[in-house]
């Protein structure tokens, strides 16, 4: 059995904000909920949402305007895509290849399958 370990709650909150930026629910230069509002919406401790936003700020994904709240940074989406691309290529893909090897799926077989998948997506 393969286990996926659960990320800490504050990391999950950060990932959720990034997902919403990726999907266009939060737009660049647009306002996002305050740490307090978010705490009430998802039911997590406000200190946890504060920590999550602090990390997002460090990463340049969001910024704060005193008295006005939190906003999505210009170029945030590109930053997220680049980070996630790196994660995909360095972590997800090697894991998939390892799985494929275990299951004795040849490179050609995998390549053909991937081609089909790509066609379906388009």
């Amino acid at each position: 059995m393969e286990f996926k370990n659960t990320k800490s709650i504050f990391t999950q909150i950060g990932d959720d904000v990034k997902d919403k930026i990726m999907e266009g629910e939060y737009t660049e230069e647009g306002k996002i909920p305050s740490t307090r509002e978010l705490a009430g919406i998802v039911g997590v401790n406000p200190n946890t949402t504060i920590k999550a936003y602090a990390v997002l700020q460090q990463e340049g994904i969001i910024y704060t305007q005193r008295g006005k709240g939190y906003f999505v940074s210009q170029g945030a989406k590109e930053t997220i895509i680049n980070d996630r691309k790196e994660e995909f290529l360095n972590e997800v893909l090697p894991e998939t290849v390892e799985q494929a090897n275990k299951l004795e799926i040849s490179f050609d077989e995998l390549q053909n399958y991937l081609k089909d998948l790509y066609h379906e997506e388009k």
Binding site: M1, F3, G40, G43, V44, T48
Partner: protein
């Protein structure tokens, strides 16, 4: 806000319930208070709220001595007990008669919270189920905006949807200058809303740490094979083990409170 030294309490000479308890707490936290049955959680809340007199040691809460029960003290504290009696009046009358004791009481908040719990204020308290009464008293507790709110098993009796509402209400209505302590056995009901953990065992505090620090110290992992040398505690699950290990990975893992509690009860000295 809370300063306790060598606190001692027993109902009889034979069994000491609170034994040499020490604790310092600042506001701005929602604290989970965990302990086995009979660990002294409810007794501890009674001592903090001045319902019983300590047998030894010192206890200072909100800069006062609880058992003196000064009006100034009682107006800054609210205890949600596990068992309670409410008068046979409507919710509206109860709020009207009881809220004046709390100077920071928020009339708008009580309306909003009762609405979230789907309770109409013309209902008579004597006709409510245990779970509904519990919701009234939880909503009332938060609306007092008391500096210290103690909740003893607040989710007992709440149905499944109400537990999610409870978490949202707690997280969304908590002020920086407040300290909320929740004692419970239902760790899943509160694991996202607490940011601090206190564990009582044999009448004393065996663990007192912020949840964030916990995530920085330990990895909570699910593994197929156990590497004993790197594991502090493990429990078997389907297909492998749930483990606690000293933090290695950069990524934080989600604290498994139930597992951590069991690990502390097993041998808390490993985690100090």
């Amino acid at each position: 806000m809370v300063s306790i030294n060598n606190l001692q309490f027993s109902y009889s000479k034979k069994a000491t319930i609170i034994d040499q308890l020490n604790l310092e707490l600042d506001p701005g936290k929602i604290v989970g208070l965990l302990g086995k049955n009979g660990a002294g959680k409810s007794t501890f809340f009674k001592l903090m709220s001045g319902l019983i007199h300590p047998k030894g040691g010192s206890i200072n809460v909100l800069n006062e001595t609880p058992f003196q029960r000064q009006p100034s003290f009682l107006s800054k504290l609210f205890l949600v007990p596990e068992e309670f009696e409410l008068p046979p009046v409507t919710i509206k009358e109860f709020v009207k008669n009881t809220s004046p004791f709390y100077p920071r009481f928020d009339q708008r908040m009580i309306v909003e919270l009762l609405d979230k719990f789907e309770l109409k204020d013309n209902l008579n308290l004597k006709r409510l189920s245990y779970g509904q009464k519990k919701k009234v008293i939880i909503a009332f507790a938060l609306a007092t905006k008391a500096e210290l709110i103690l909740m003893d098993e607040p989710t007992n009796g709440l149905d499944i949807p109400s537990k999610a509402i409870f978490r949202k209400i707690m997280a969304g209505n908590f002020e920086e200058d407040q300290l909320i302590m929740i004692s419970t056995h239902q760790v899943k009901d509160i694991d996202t809303i607490i940011d601090h953990l206190i564990v009582l065992d044999n009448g004393g505090v065996i663990y007192n740490e912020s949840i964030f620090d916990l995530t920085q110290k330990y990895d909570f992992l699910k593994v197929q094979q156990l590497i004993v040398a790197e594991t502090l505690y493990a429990e078997p699950i389907l297909g492998g083990y749930k483990t606690i290990a000293p933090k290695q990975d950069q990524d934080d893992t989600q604290v498994d409170l139930e597992l951590f509690f069991n690990a502390l009860i097993n041998d808390y000295k490993k985690f100090i």
